[in-house]
Every structure is written in structure tokens, then in C-alpha cells.
């Protein structure tokens, strides 16, 4: 009897969140997929139904016009490529800046580690939107950076920093840096320092010991951090809208404009499905890493 209620209880514990996520996470994607194969029409909702009835017989109406539209207008392909480029460059910058920072924290005295980690995480608790907004004030033509450089005599005319690729890189690196540092730190902190000592005893210079011992061991951390930055960065909307170029949009902005400005739900859905196709491999990779991390109990 106890067994029976126990298994019923377990079913409830696992079943409630499973049902919630099925309804509010999985089913929505199926709806997006289905609407990407319809056409716009002036109605509520503004797309053609999947099944139309002709004298009592149902006909499946699958339209691929949204997808063919994406491939005929070069705007879409160029936004995909631009988004991938921006995400890749930003991820690399995050890694180059975040790795030494994570390394320094992992090698700090244990008493200082908690404080340093808190300093890394603290900005995350303040509004993301406001932190991106702060960069407008810093990067503007009459902003803080230009004013300081002009005052110091380094430049004689204000640099155009806002609405450039550079501003988007700064914005993404700035907002996502903690997501790179934390998994790297968790990895680097577990390293056995005696391995480095052994390498040194065997005559390896510090750089060589780092390349041969530390770097290969930290690959899972590098991969986890990079995926945590790269995947959301591809679809980033706020940062390129506030800081980025106006002549070259990223895919998140294109999707949002198709939906809100053009009210073209099928094309917006097709944009989302293609973006998901680009990201499906990185997402699965991330899930595998995450599962391994969570299930080994570290």
C-alpha cells in the first residue's frame, strides 16, 4: 500500500512540472512550426488555417512561401550571418577576458574567493537593461569616453563609437561576462596544483605547463561558458537595438520587426524556426554538458 501511494506521489512530483513544460515550452514550438507553414491573411488570427474544408473533405494547406521569402530577400541571410559573426566574436572576447579573470579567482586565497565571485555576480543582480543603457552614456559622441579622450588630447574629434559593431561587442561582452567566468571558475577551482608542480619539476616553463596541463583540463569549462554566451547572443535583441548599427540588423530584431511592425506571423515564425535550426547543435551540446555537471553532483 505504501509502495502504491509512493509511486503515485512520485508520478505527481515529476508529472506536474513535466506537464507545465510540455504545455508552455514544447507545444508553443510546435505552434510556431505550424504557423511558419501558413500564409498571411487579413483576419484574426492573421494566418491561413492548416486544414481547410471543401464540401466536407479536409485538405491540408501547407505553404512554404514564408521560407522561400527568407531565401529570396538577401536581408534575412545577411542578418543570420551577421548574428553568427557578432555572437562568435563576442564569445571569443568573453573567453579571452574571462579566462584570466576566472584563473585569478581560482588561484586567490580561499577567503578572498567568495568576495571576488560576489563582485563578478553582483552586476547580474542589477537590471540588465539599465546596464546596457549605461553604455549609451559612455559611448555617445559627447559621452564620457569621448570627453575624457578629448580632454587628454588623445583625439581632436569625437570618435563614432555608438551604433557600431564595436558597441555591440562591448555590450554583449559586458552583459555576458559573468556567464563565461562562472563555469570556467568551477572548472579551474577543481584542478590539482600538484600537476603543475610536476610539470615544473620536469622542466616545463610556466607557459608550456599551462598549455599542456591547465588548458586541456579546462576544456569543459571553456565549452560550457562559450555556449552560455554564444547561444543567447545569436538572438540578442536589446543590445543591438540600443547600441548597434541601424543599417545591419541582427536576427532577433528582424524577428521582432516582422512580428510587431509588419504583422507577418508566418515569416516571423519561419525566422524563428531557421534560427532554432542553426542553434540546435549548440543547444544539445549545452544540455549534455549541463546534465553531466548536474548528475556528477559538483
Amino acid at each position: 500500500m505504501v509502495r502504491l501511494t509512493q509511486s503515485a506521489g512520485r508520478r505527481l512530483v515529476a508529472g506536474i512540472p513535466l506537464l507545465w513544460l510540455l504545455l508552455l515550452f514544447l507545444v508553443p514550438f510546435l505552434i510556431v512550426f505550424r504557423i511558419s507553414f501558413s500564409e498571411v491573411r487579413l483576419a484574426i488570427p492573421p494566418y491561413t488555417p492548416l486544414i481547410t474544408w471543401h464540401q466536407g473533405t479536409p485538405t491540408l494547406a501547407v505553404h512554404t512561401s514564408a521560407y522561400s521569402f527568407l531565401f529570396t530577400d538577401p536581408l534575412y541571410i545577411s542578418s543570420y550571418l551577421y548574428s553568427l559573426k557578432v555572437a562568435a566574436v563576442s564569445t571569443l572576447c568573453c573567453l579571452l577576458i574571462g579566462y584570466p579573470m576566472a584563473y585569478a579567482i581560482a588561484r586567490a586565497r580561499p577567503a578572498n574567493r567568495a568576495v571576488l565571485l560576489m563582485l563578478i555576480v553582483l552586476p547580474f543582480w542589477t537590471s540588465f537593461l539599465l546596464r546596457v543603457y549605461a553604455w549609451i552614456g559612455l559611448l555617445k559622441n559627447n559621452g564620457v569616453i569621448n570627453n575624457v579622450l578629448l580632454h587628454l588630447g588623445v583625439i581632436h574629434q569625437p570618435l563614432t563609437l555608438l551604433q557600431t559593431d564595436f558597441a555591440v561587442y562591448i555590450g554583449i561582452v559586458y552583459s555576458y561576462l559573468p556567464f563565461m567566468i562562472l563555469p570556467l571558475y568551477t572548472n579551474l577551482e577543481k584542478h590539482d596544483p600538484t600537476l603543475l608542480e610536476a610539470a615544473a619539476d620536469l622542466g616545463a616553463r610556466p607557459l608550456r605547463a599551462f598549455l599542456a596541463v591547465t588548458l586541456p583540463q579546462s576544456l569543459p569549462g571553456i565549452l560550457a561558458g562559450s555556449l552560455l554566451v554564444f547561444i543567447p547572443a545569436v538572438g540578442e535583441y536589446v543590445i543591438p537595438t540600443l547600441l548597434g548599427r541601424t543599417d545591419q540588423l541582427m536576427i532577433g530584431r528582424v524577428l521582432s520587426d516582422e512580428f510587431f511592425e509588419n504583422r507577418d506571423w508566418p515569416v516571423a515564425s519561419a525566422v524563428a524556426i531557421l534560427a532554432l535550426l542553426l542553434l540546435v547543435v549548440p543547444i544539445i551540446l549545452f544540455q549534455r554538458l549541463e546534465r553531466r555537471e548536474l548528475e556528477t553532483g559538483s
Binding site: W20, L24, G98, I105, Y133, A134, V238, I283, L294
Partner: protein, 282 residues
């Protein structure tokens, strides 16, 4: 110290400067008299006039109140669902749907927000057509969307906490005849309480801060604070936003300081208890 250690330390200091300069600049310029935001008007600053403007702004206050209510409800529901999911994933061993549950709790963390937002809105529209609920979008649909992406984070936090210690305590209680619900209330819950607390705070922050998903599932009359801020800063910088940022930073800093002191206190008390217990055993 090796050159490698020195290089990493310099990088750490520069990185922290990079993280904090924008925040400090907002605080400094919130006291600036000039409308130009970034030009310091030394003759008339510091001033509190942007704070006064802010306090008199009904739109911002109303949006902040809506955001707080949504964040409290979302975080609370997300903690319940996330704890259930975390328990199932960490303690139930293999079961049907486990891989699906694991996948659906990690995917929302990296999923680009525009995709999540679009898909949730299309779901709500389809549901409205099919079963007549929800009727239109607004605070209810925003809350449902926030619960969904927040519970993913709570699940990860709770699951990793549960994975951090083994099941022997729970098994011992079971062997002594405790019912599953008693085991949960007396053993598991106290153990994961810190994870639940930090999960709730994380969920609250994520909900309070979310713009992109919210924009998709919000309707007329349900503008949250990030939506108001975004519509203001999109068309130029406004100094009262600096004042708003400063207030929010102040609240977060106070909260973190209080929780740090409280955790120190708890830790010290636990150490003392352990010492007392050890002394009693002598």
C-alpha cells in the same frame, strides 16, 4: 609570484573595472544638473532633481508596482514547480519522461528570448481561439510566461544542491518508517532550503528584469517597468533613468549586504553548535 599569476591578477582588476565603470557612471550622473546626461554641470550639481521627477512619475511608479506583483507571483510559482522538477531529476533515478524533463529544464536557460517570447504568444493566441482562455494578453499571460522561464533556473539550482549530498539521510528516515511526505518535510526541505531561497531571489530578479519575452506577451495597459524604461531610452538618454538605476542598485546592494551578514551569522552559529555537540560527547 609567477608571471602567469601576475597577468591573471591584472586581468582580474581590469575586468572588474570594466564591470563597474558603467554602473558608477549612472550613479554619478544621476546627481548631475544638466539635461545632457554626460556633461557634468559643476555649478549646479549635485542635485536631487531627477529623484524628485522620478517620485512624481505616476507611469513609472505604476509600472514598478505591476512588475513587483508579477515577480513575486512568478518567483513563488517557479519555486514550487522548479523544486518538484529538481527533486524528480535528482532523486527518482530513471523514469519515463526523465530525458524530456531534463531537456526542457535546461533549454530555456540558453534559448534566445525572442524565440521563447514569440512561441509563448502564439500559444496564448491559439489557446484563446481553442478554449476561450486567456482572453487577450496582459498581466496573466506575462506571469505564465515568467513562471515558465524562471522555473528552469530554480530546477537547476535545486537539482545541483540535491546532487551535492547523498540520499543516505532520506533513506535512513524511510527505514525508520517515515512516510515520504514526512521525509520531505523533515529532511529534504531543510537541506534544500538555501537553494530554494536563492532560487526564489534569482527567479524574482529574472522576472523583474525581463523585457523581451514580456513585450511579446504583454497587452495594452500591462506595461512592466522594463517596458517603460526601454521605450524611454530607445529614443535617447533621460537623466531620471539614471536616478531610477541608482535606487535599484542601492536596493540590491542593501539586500546582498543583509543576506551576507545573515549567512555569516548562521554559519557561525552552526559552528558553535557543532563545537558544543563535540564538547558534550567528551
Amino acid at each position: 609570484m609567477s608571471s602567469r599569476g601576475l597577468f591573471a591578477r591584472v586581468a582580474l582588476v581590469l575586468g572588474l573595472v570594466f564591470l563597474y565603470v558603467p554602473i558608477l557612471s549612472m550613479i554619478v550622473f544621476s546627481f548631475n544638473n544638466s539635461r545632457l546626461v554626460t556633461v557634468w554641470d559643476a555649478a549646479h550639481s549635485p542635485t536631487f532633481k531627477w529623484y524628485r521627477t522620478l517620485v512624481g512619475n505616476e507611469q513609472i511608479l505604476g509600472a514598478a508596482w505591476l512588475s513587483i506583483r508579477i515577480a513575486v507571483i512568478s518567483a513563488t510559482a517557479a519555486v514550487v514547480l522548479g523544486t518538484l522538477a529538481g527533486m524528480a531529476l535528482a532523486r527518482f533515478g530513471p523514469f519515463r519522461g526523465r530525458l524530456l524533463l531534463a531537456g526542457m529544464t535546461t533549454a530555456p536557460i540558453v534559448m534566445p528570448e525572442v524565440i521563447t517570447g514569440l512561441s509563448l504568444l502564439l500559444l496564448f493566441v491559439a489557446m484563446g481561439q481553442l478554449i476561450g482562455w486567456p482572453r487577450g494578453v496582459g498581466a496573466i499571460t506575462i506571469t505564465l510566461a515568467h513562471i515558465t522561464f524562471c522555473m528552469a533556473y530554480v530546477t537547476v539550482v535545486v537539482q545541483s544542491r540535491l546532487a551535492g549530498f547523498d540520499e543516505s539521510l532520506e533513506e535512513a528516515a524511510m527505514d525508520l518508517g517515515a512516510r515520504p511526505l514526512t521525509v520531505f518535510a523533515r529532511i529534504t526541505l531543510p537541506l534544500i532550503l538555501p537553494a530554494i531561497a536563492s532560487g526564489w531571489l534569482l527567479a524574482f530578479t529574472l522576472s523583474w528584469d525581463d523585457l523581451v519575452i514580456t513585450q511579446f506577451v504583454a497587452g495594452p495597459g500591462s506595461s512592466t517597468l522594463p517596458m517603460i524604461i526601454f521605450s524611454k531610452v530607445r529614443f535617447g538618454v533621460t537623466p531620471d533613468i539614471n536616478a531610477l538605476a541608482t535606487i535599484m542598485i542601492l536596493i540590491v546592494a542593501t539586500g546582498i549586504a543583509i543576506s551576507t551578514v545573515w549567512m555569516r551569522y548562521r554559519e557561525r552559529r552552526r559552528e558553535r553548535d557543532l563545537q558544543l555537540a563535540a564538547a558534550a560527547n567528551l
